[in-house]
């Protein structure tokens, strides 16, 4: 049995890489039995265990409980996590990580395909595991992401990746988990006497008809055997039997109401609203129709001058009070690099009313539930993957967030990244 302190682990993993390379290699397969001993475990399911122990074997969690009840001797290695905070790996929903490297460089942008209805394009096969951004996100505790296409009315299909892989193939936890749709805007932006104004769009109804037609045709197609394949309709098939989730990107109340109507009309088993700025106003409707929400970016300005200046901060609490299943997400300006701030969105939700464990849930188990991967990840529970992060302090507060250990299915992640490398390089310049 080996006892490690976290500091030693960090040292082990960093030492070989100083100046050596930009990229860090995926961790080796976890074999044997490991115990994280001590610390506060936030299980992700709403529960918290003080002075906890988390044991896992060959990448699967085998023990969750009080450190008093854990038998260290049974483990091949014991990692001391006393005084630290243990969380399930954070999950970034509705993410374009790995699809875009540098915003201003067109050649590095892969999230926008052309066409109006293109459910068949799959984001997961364009997920670049060599992205320099992903390691900077992991080192703040975000280990899993829903990789999502953008644009059009039906943007394409998302897949789910874990963030420690050689290629999209071994990154993929789900090749496709759902189809993404941008609900047409009811309003359009133009300038009036030099001032930007949003007005009702005249073409909205027309677009709605086109959408309904596409769904009618897709549903009709899904009843056949697909002898002659239509790639678009084929990609929609899973929506009608519950295999895939329909992610509807929409913010306005009226859009939400109409999206729920679409769910009813076409008997779509799984639907999730992405954005949902007005979702708190439609909470009853969403809850009663089992529609979940990936919430509007928490660190965002209110949409209306008149709104509570802190409304985006309060949305998680508002939805939680109404019993709507929701998770946080991060789409918006500079979303790829900003993913590393995802834990802090949860922190803000705590400042504005959510309980701490609810906030943890909103970036772990709730996200996993919505994505349909809660059988494997999202919480620290026996039988689930050992996908875990350990922070020196409270990981939801930037003041204390300091991820010192992370593993995906037990594979220990190198927390180094391009930023730390440049940091070391230039500090050495001044020594």
């Amino acid at each position: 049995m080996k006892h490690y302190s976290i500091q030693l682990l960090i040292l082990l993993f960093c030492s070989g890489f100083v100046f050596a390379q930009d990229q860090v290699s995926p961790g080796a397969k976890h074999e044997g039995k490991t115990l994280l001993l001590g610390g506060t475990a936030h299980l992700g399911n709403g529960d918290v265990i003080q002075d906890a122990a988390i044991g896992y074997e060959n990448g699967v969690i085998t023990f969750v409980g009080s450190s008093l009840k854990a038998k260290s001797a049974d483990y091949d290695e014991v990692i001391d996590t006393k005084g630290k905070h243990i969380y399930p790996g954070f999950i970034t929903a509705n993410s374009t990580l790995g699809l875009q490297e540098i915003g201003a460089v067109r050649a590095t942008r892969d999230q926008y395909e052309i066409g109006t209805f293109r459910p068949n394009v799959r984001a997961i096969i364009a997920f670049n595991t060599e992205s320099d951004i992903t390691p900077t996100v992991r080192s703040n505790g975000v280990l899993i992401g829903q990789i999502t296409p953008r644009g059009g009315v039906i943007s394409g299909s998302s897949g789910i990746a874990q963030f420690d892989a050689w290629n999209w193939e071994d990154a993929a936890m789900e090749m496709t988990d759902g189809v993404h749709m941008n609900w047409p805007r009811m309003h359009h932006l133009h300038t009036q006497q030099g001032k930007p104004v949003i007005e009702l769009r005249k073409t909205y109804e027309q677009q709605l008809h086109e959408i309904q037609r596409f769904f009618r045709e897709s549903k009709a197609y899904s009843k056949g055997n697909g002898a002659i394949k239509d790639l678009k309709y084929e990609a929609m098939r899973g929506l009608f039997d519950g295999e895939l989730c329909l992610y509807v990107h929409a913010n306005d109340y009226k859009q939400l109401v109409e999206a729920v109507q679409l769910k009813r009309d076409f008997e779509i088993p799984r639907m999730c609203i992405v954005g949902g700025y007005d979702s708190w106003m439609a909470a009853d409707l969403l809850r009663d129709n089992k529609v979940s929400v990936m919430l509007y970016r928490t660190h965002e300005l209110p949409d209306y001058d008149e709104d509570d200046v802190n409304l985006p901060y309060k949305l998680p609490k508002l939805l939680s009070d109404e019993g709507v299943l929701f998770c946080l997400q991060n789409s918006g300006d500079m979303e790829q690099m900003g993913t590393r701030n995802l834990p802090f969105y949860a922190g803000t939700a705590v400042a504005y009313g959510l309980t701490y464990e609810q906030a943890v849930m909103s970036i772990t188990l709730n996200a996993a539930k919505i994505l349909g991967i809660d059988d494997r990840v999202g919480s620290l529970e026996v039988g689930k993957q050992a996908t875990i992060v350990v922070s020196d302090g409270d990981a939801l507060d930037m003041r204390t967030n300091n991820i010192v250990f992370a593993c995906i299915t037990g594979r220990v992640i190198d927390l180094d990244n391009r930023h730390k490398l440049l940091y070391r390089k230039y500090r050495s310049k001044y020594q």
Partner: protein, 1034 residues
């Protein structure tokens, strides 16, 4: 009508080579023999018959009324007016029968008779130079050479629509460009030679570049700078004796500046901006307003300018759908309610104003005018603003504006007093020509008649409006049947029809006939369907009973009306918060001074300053015996810090953060385009921000001057700007300035590479030194000249004042500081070399994302760094940006700050500071200085802000928690002792907004008109500015 008067044009010699038409006067020669240059086709009309108007209510001036008076008009002029006037024999008499007569209105803001302004064509390629040829100025938006009188052509339709609103004369100009040339004062008749009263009546300006195809200016501040530079150029051109160019634009401008100066604006704050320019050049502009002047009335009064105000009050929205109604902002709703009171408020405040028909349909003009009066505008002021005030402003009150002997016979005839709701405009007389809208001579045929058709009598009642009557024929037998009679009345002729069946008469009846005996008797014939002709006669039994419904003294008078809030957007307040004396107790004070963090301490705020602080404050030591009223705040468990200072912000800027059309735009200043009404000011107060540097964008190597403001929500732009702060200018490097990410068409403006960027700096700074030398030489020469020489030879040739080079010279001489947008180490190093070689110091590198690579060089040079905590990967040049940047800069002894560049992040700068702890382990107190004391140092404001120290500005935040924590919320934010953000009061403000919106929406729902045809809701959104925001239209 023939032109009978002599047009005298006076030509004045301004220079030996400039002949300019300066003045046109109409002289009313009192001669019987009318002369004209125009040959006549036919016999000559002599216009010897005068017109005498009798029985009129003559409102001769805004306050004077001649009841039952008379007015004699001849040749388009008023010859006499009074209770009874002596009339010549050759005189036509017009009986006004008690109608009201007013001087015709004068509109100072019109484009009547002007050609259409071409829209600017959008183009992908840059347009740097002038596209039209000619000996004019360099910028197409400056077109003072345009004279409205030269292109003016009578436009019948437009004239009619203006007359329908009672206007008899307009001041018309071509609405194109920033300097728009001169306007002409024109009467609305059809004879241009007679109607043109003053050919060059006023000079006109605006901030809009109009049809100019040139890129410059692309922003409001650019337009301001261009206009200022043009005025300076004029001085140089006229008196500098140094010009090697001939410039017709400047020559025309010189002449135009002797005229009244009118500035068209787009919103209330534009008036203040235009007035600032006026003050700089000792000019007083009158302003074309927008009906929102009441929202900043005190500041507008202080301009001392006259305002030409439209009365196109906003239409109500269709608010039946609450989810759509939510989109209408509070200010739109409140403006809908308050706009009709604008004129009353201007009158009450003593702001001089005229009324224009601008943007108002002729259908609404009179009702809106009456609405303004119902909202408190006095009738006299309303008339004055339409008649005498504009006439006086143009100094043509000897011709227009009142009904007086010798003036043009421009008058309106109305059926009743102008302000009666039922009063109709009957006729508009313009220089003797009449436009008739309602035929005053039409007989009133309304009443009860007996209609005799073929011997049978039917009662007939005639109702409706005079000229538009209809009838009802009754058949009285066992039951009364009424059928409709359609009546068309043309003079005394009548034609009518009715369905005869109901009366027991065959088919449809067609009547023809004539009205006799003052409408007592009608007769004529009618034809039956079988072709038989029959006679009919109708004899009046009774005149129409006075059907004037007694309008009950309505409760409308006491209109429920919300208050004006400052600023006029959501979260504005009716009252400005005041500075108080405040003692904060039991707090954890983050002093940013040697005392460090003091637990369980007290802080005293008095007269806007920090008066005392420490474990215990001794009030007696501060105040002596006279201790003022003190508000005590218990801050147990809370943290108190200096206000957050954002070194790099783009909020609160109107119409453009970039003037990126030239490589250097040092002449522009954000100080001129501060927007006090931006909601982001309030939102940032909620994050503890008290001071922001509003920066020009990064579209060009040498950007514009910045404005440092305190976030005094509710104050005017001028009150927010720290005028006495050290002046700054924005520079920029890298991808933005070389236009790398603006699309493939943007490859023409120099520079396109980092190599070129360096040369821009050298070129500009060397030019600035040469400019300095030219002025030095000139001033020396002046000193050496004897008084006699001066008298004999005049001043020597002077250099041209160049606003851009003035600013660059300030930099070279250490009087202005640079904050430079920068990413890569190579260019950072380059700029420090440029500065070193020219002998100045870069004050701040902002963004400075690769600062960590050259921190040693920065320290050596003496530059500070204001960076992002963790932004990267949005452009190629930020590939090496790391969140440890701040920590390394700080470790290397560089004054380091974190900034926002983003309206959202700016309200969480305390959290950004915490990232310096997370990435690189900066001690917490030092990290917090990244957003307080350090930016204060970078802005040269650390003597008055950035720390809690006695004597410094009381810019203080009370936090609910450790200020670096994500859980900390700003509970109160003070600026100079005034509480501008209070989390509790914010809840009250939210309730106010909610109830105020609901109240006005109720009112809107019940407002006149069919809800379905009201305006569809739309939402105003904010342009969220960043460094690289470029506007299509400013």
């Amino acid at each position: 009508m023939e032109p009978r008067d002599v047009l005298i044009a006076t030509f004045v010699v301004m220079r030996t080579w400039i002949f300019v038409l300066t003045l046109c006067l109409l002289c009313f020669a009192k001669i019987n023999f009318a002369q004209s240059t125009f040959p006549v086709n036919g016999t000559h009309e002599k216009s010897v018959v005068s017109t005498l108007f009798i029985n009129g209510q003559f409102h001769t001036s805004p306050t004077e009324l001649i009841e039952n008076g008379q007015m004699l008009v001849s040749k388009g002029q008023i010859i006499a007016i009074g209770s009874e006037v002596k009339a010549p024999a050759q005189c036509e008499i017009v009986d006004l029968k008690g109608a009201h007569v007013y001087p015709s209105f004068i509109d100072l803001e019109s484009d009547y008779g002007m050609p259409k302004v071409e829209g600017r064509q959008w183009s992908r390629e840059p347009h740097i130079e002038r596209s039209e040829k000619g000996a004019f100025g360099w910028n197409e938006a400056i077109r003072p050479e345009f004279h409205a009188a030269h292109v003016f052509k009578h436009q019948n339709e437009k004239a009619e629509s203006l007359k329908k609103m009672g206007f008899g004369a307009v001041l018309s100009h071509h609405h194109d460009g920033i300097s728009r040339g001169t306007s002409a004062l024109i009467c609305l008749g059809s004879n241009e030679n007679r109607n043109l009263l003053v050919s060059r009546a006023a000079s006109h300006f605006s901030f809009s570049k109009g049809s100019s195809k040139q890129d410059y200016p692309s922003s409001l501040m650019g337009a301001i700078a261009l206009l200022r530079q043009t005025f300076y150029d004029l001085e140089w051109y006229l008196y500098g004796k140094n010009a090697t160019e001939r410039n017709l634009s400047l020559e025309a401008l010189a002449d135009g500046l002797n005229l009244p100066l009118i500035f068209e604006t787009r919103e209330k704050l534009d008036l203040l901006r235009a007035d600032r320019i006026g003050d700089e050049f000792s000019m007083q502009f009158a302003f074309v307003g927008n009906g929102d002047e009441y929202q900043r009335i005190n500041e507008i009064k202080a301009t001392e300018g006259m305002v030409i105000v439209p009365i196109n009050f906003p239409a109500p929205y269709d608010v039946r759908d609450p989810y759509l109604a939510r989109m209408i902002s509070l200010q739109e709703l409140k403006h809908w309610e308050l706009a009709p009171s604008n004129l009353a408020r201007l009158e009450a405040a003593g702001v001089p104003f005229c009324i224009t028909s601008k943007d108002c349909s002729s259908k609404d003009f009179f009702s809106n005018l009456r609405l303004a009066v119902k909202n408190g505008l006095s009738e006299a002021a309303a008339i004055d603003a339409l008649t005498l005030q504009p006439a006086k402003y143009l100094k043509v009150d000897d011709l227009l504006g009142s009904l007086d002997v010798g003036k043009e016979a421009n008058f309106n005839v109305m059926s009743a007093s102008l302000f009666d709701d039922d009063s109709e405009l009957l006729e508009v007389w313009t220089q003797g020509e009449v436009a008739i809208f309602v035929d005053r001579l039409l007989l009133d045929v309304r009443g009860e008649y007996n209609l005799n058709i073929d011997g049978k009598i039917y009662p007939l009642s005639v109702n409706g409006k005079v000229g538009q009557v209809s009838g009802e024929i009754s058949r009285i037998q066992e039951d009364t049947v009424k059928i409709k009679l359609n009546i068309v009345q043309e003079g005394q002729q009548l034609s009518m029809n009715a369905k005869g069946d109901e009366l027991g008469l065959p088919g449809t009846l067609f009547f023809g006939g004539i009205v006799h005996a003052e409408s007592r008797i009608w007769d004529g014939t009618l034809q039956y369907p079988d072709g038989q002709w029959k006679t009919w006669i109708a004899v009046k039994q009774q005149d129409l009973e006075n059907d004037k419904k007694e309008v009950p003294e309505s409760n409308e008078e006491a209109v429920e009306m919300g208050e004006v809030i400052y600023p006029f957007v959501a979260y504005g307040s009716p009252k400005r918060p005041e500075a108080k004396t405040i003692l904060i107790k039991n707090a954890t004070l983050w002093t940013n001074e040697d005392e460090g963090i003091i637990e369980d301490a007290q802080l005293l705020i008095h007269q806007g300053k920090i008066a005392a602080l420490g474990k215990r404050v001794d009030l007696a030591a501060v105040f002596g015996k006279s201790i003022p009223e003190i508000e005590v705040i218990d801050a147990k468990g809370k943290h108190v810090t200096p206000g957050i200072i954002d070194e790099h912000s783009h909020i609160a800027i109107t119409r453009g953060v970039n003037e990126g059309t030239q490589a250097s735009s040092a002449e522009v200043s954000i100080q001129h385009s501060v927007d006090s009404e931006d909601i982001n000011i309030y939102r940032q107060l909620s994050g503890g921000v008290t001071c922001s540097q509003l920066l020009h964008g990064s579209a060009n190597p040498i950007g514009g001057q910045s404005a440092i403001i305190k976030l005094k929500w509710g104050a005017s732009p001028d009150e927010m700007v720290l005028w006495d702060a050290a002046p700054f200018i924005k520079f920029a490097l890298g991808e933005n300035v070389k236009q790398s990410n603006w699309g493939d068409a943007q490859t023409e403006r120099f520079p396109q590479t980092r190599m070129g960027v360096e040369q821009v700096f050298y070129d500009e700074f060397i030019r600035a030194r040469e400019y300095e030398l030219a002025w030095k030489n000139y001033n020396n020469e002046l000193k050496l000249l004897s008084r006699r020489q001066l008298k004999k030879e005049g001043l020597p040739p002077a250099p041209r004042k160049d606003l851009e080079l003035d600013v660059l010279l300030q930099i070279l001489n250490g009087e202005r500081f640079i904050t430079c947008h920068s990413y890569r180490q190579d260019e950072i190093n380059m700029l420090m070399h440029v500065a070193d070689s020219l002998g100045f110091t870069l004050n701040t590198f902002t963004h400075i994302l690769e600062g960590y690579k050259v921190a040693d060089k920065m320290r050596e040079h003496g530059a500070g760094g204001s960076t992002f905590s963790d932004w990267w990967a949005y452009k190629f040049e930020v590939k090496d940006a790391i969140p440890y940047n701040g920590a390394i800069l700080w470790e290397q002894g560089v004054v380091t700050a974190f900034n926002s560049d983003d309206a959202e992040m700016a309200r969480r700068l305390n959290q950004e500071a915490a990232k310096a702890v997370k990435y690189g382990g900066v001690p917490e107190e030092e990290a917090f200085k990244f957003v307080t004391l350090n930016p204060a140092k970078l802005l040269h404001l650390d003597h008055r802000m950035g720390s809690l120290k006695v004597g410094k500005d009381a810019d203080v935040v009370i936090w609910s928690d450790h200020p670096l924590s994500i859980y900390a919320k700003a509970e109160k934010t003070f600026i100079e002792g005034v509480c501008y953000w209070d989390a509790e009061e914010d809840i009250a403000k939210q309730r106010y907004i909610q109830s105020e919106k609901a109240r006005i929406i109720q009112k809107m729902l019940n407002s006149p008109g069919d809800n379905g045809s009201k305006r569809k809701p739309s939402k105003r959104v904010h342009q969220h500015n960043h460094c690289d925001t470029i506007l299509e239209e400013y």
